[in-house]
């Protein structure tokens, strides 16, 4: 799952390299529009529906992993 998430982050935010420190603070393209793209991709890739509260909390790779692990439990 981790790899898949990193791949999505890389694609959505057009990064050359990506690692687990990726977050809104380190990533220019991770703005509100980027967030929307990320959510749409994650929902598709993992076949889930993210709630607005979860989306609001998703500010870094670690947040994404935490929320996804919980959703997919």
């Amino acid at each position: 799952m981790e790899e898949k998430v990193l791949e999505i982050l890389k694609e959505v935010f057009e990064l050359e390299t990506v690692d687990q420190t990726c977050s809104q603070d380190t990533c220019d393209k991770w703005d509100s529009m980027g967030q929307l793209n990320l959510v749409a991709e994650l929902e598709d890739a993992f076949d889930i529906s993210l709630e607005p509260e979860e989306i609001g909390k998703m500010k870094s790779f670690k947040d994404v992993m935490r929320i996804l692990s919980y959703k997919l439990k």
Binding site: D28, S32, M33, L36, A40, E43, D44, S49, P52
Partner: protein
Amino acid sequence: MSAFVFRNNTIERFFEKEYSFSGYDDISHIPQDVENYVWWYQVPIKFDSALVVQEIESYMQKLSYVVTQIDSRKTVIVLTMDIIYNIPLQEDNYSVVKAVTEYNNQLFDLELKNSNVKVLDITEFTRKYPVQDIFDWKYYFISQMGMNPKLHKEFKTWFNRKLSSIALKRKKCLVLDLDNTLWGGILGEDGIDGIKIGGDYPGKAFLYFQDAIHNLSKSGIILAVCSKNNEKDVLDAWDNNPYIILKKDSFSAYRINWQDKATNIKELADELNIGLDSFVFVDDNPTERELVKQMLPMVSVPDFPEQPYELPVFFKKLVEDYFKVYSITDEDKKKTEQYKANAARAQAQNSFADFDEFLNSLEINVTIEAANEFNISRIAQMTQKTNQFNLTTKRYTDADIRSFIASGWKIWCISVSDKFGDNGITGAIMMNGNNIDSLLLSCRILGKGIETAFVKTILSILQNEGIMDVTALYLPTAKNSQVSDFYEKCGLSCTCINEDGSKKYSVKLDSMDLSIKDYYNVNIK
């Protein structure tokens, strides 16, 4: 290709990178340095259908204005509107449906009057999906998406296909086979009287096809023949079969021989002095079509129908794919001229003479309110979230703001409403003494000149309180370049530009023009 998109909802996800976007429902900025424009206003989402109707009506006025401001050599792609969400309580109220229909009809009128406007019917795309797939309230509420972002790939495919059909240049020459294409049967075997043209089916279908092509040639399309036959037989048929509509005179050139068709078409291109990419080749024989496709890939080669009764549909597609005229001919123009005269009065009412008049029509109310317990958390939230119209991008918490107020800062927020609705609190300014520490506004309200009116009103308040000079700062970020010269526009002087791009400003208030346009109804609380 660079293109600028006018929109009222979040639609960035549906477009490639080379597109840039207006603010929401914002026509104040019409860039001239792009190659094309797109207008995509989606049905506004509000519970009160009377308001929705009013808003849809205003979109047409805005579009009319925008088209007048665009270089007429540049294409404006206009998407129609579709109601893609279930409107509640509409069982006996069709007012929104009616307004949308009216809006779409007006788009087609606009296309008639402006040769650079091309209307794309969005329902070609939307009707492929059930309503629960095409619209998702969650994405509407979190991001103001009027269409489900998950359909972005499908939309891009559809949109790009439509674009290429618009960009497609009109072909100039139609090269036709004869046997089983312009008539039924084979001339060499069936003879002049044996070929099927006119009379009963299938002759009737071929007659229709010839008649249609004859009319196409009147619109300026050059016809040519490329047929494997004895030339003498064909000339004989043209002279002596009374039913044949397309005769020798109908064709600008012909190659009737036993040579391969690719070579013949190349010769025709030379003779007529028309590029091969302007040729369309129509032949019932798939082997001949394949040969031409292989040898002359720039020639367009449509598939030919199996049955003669399919010829009318084939002809219609042929015209749509290759010979559709997008620019208006002289004759059409005459008609349009009349139409224009009749519509002149309606038009004058319908579009705005200038941008001021447009703003005047909006009935803009601006409320400026000092920070208090009810709005502090909203102000803090805006400092956290606002990226684009934010001069210093300083992020503060509720507690920060309370402590600033305690230490004497003056903080105001702004609410804006117009005849279409209330946007609530959408901006703030924070004064630390006579220095503007923060100034930010939501993108939603930009494009109506409210930003300068806001700053000027605040400076007037300060002046009345006895402040003489004000200083300010612009700190560049990756996202706020649109305000890099905002203070200049307000009338402040830049005193220093640093290497990192940050700018310092100062101004003497008594030297500034602090008047604002009277169509802003400003209310200070």
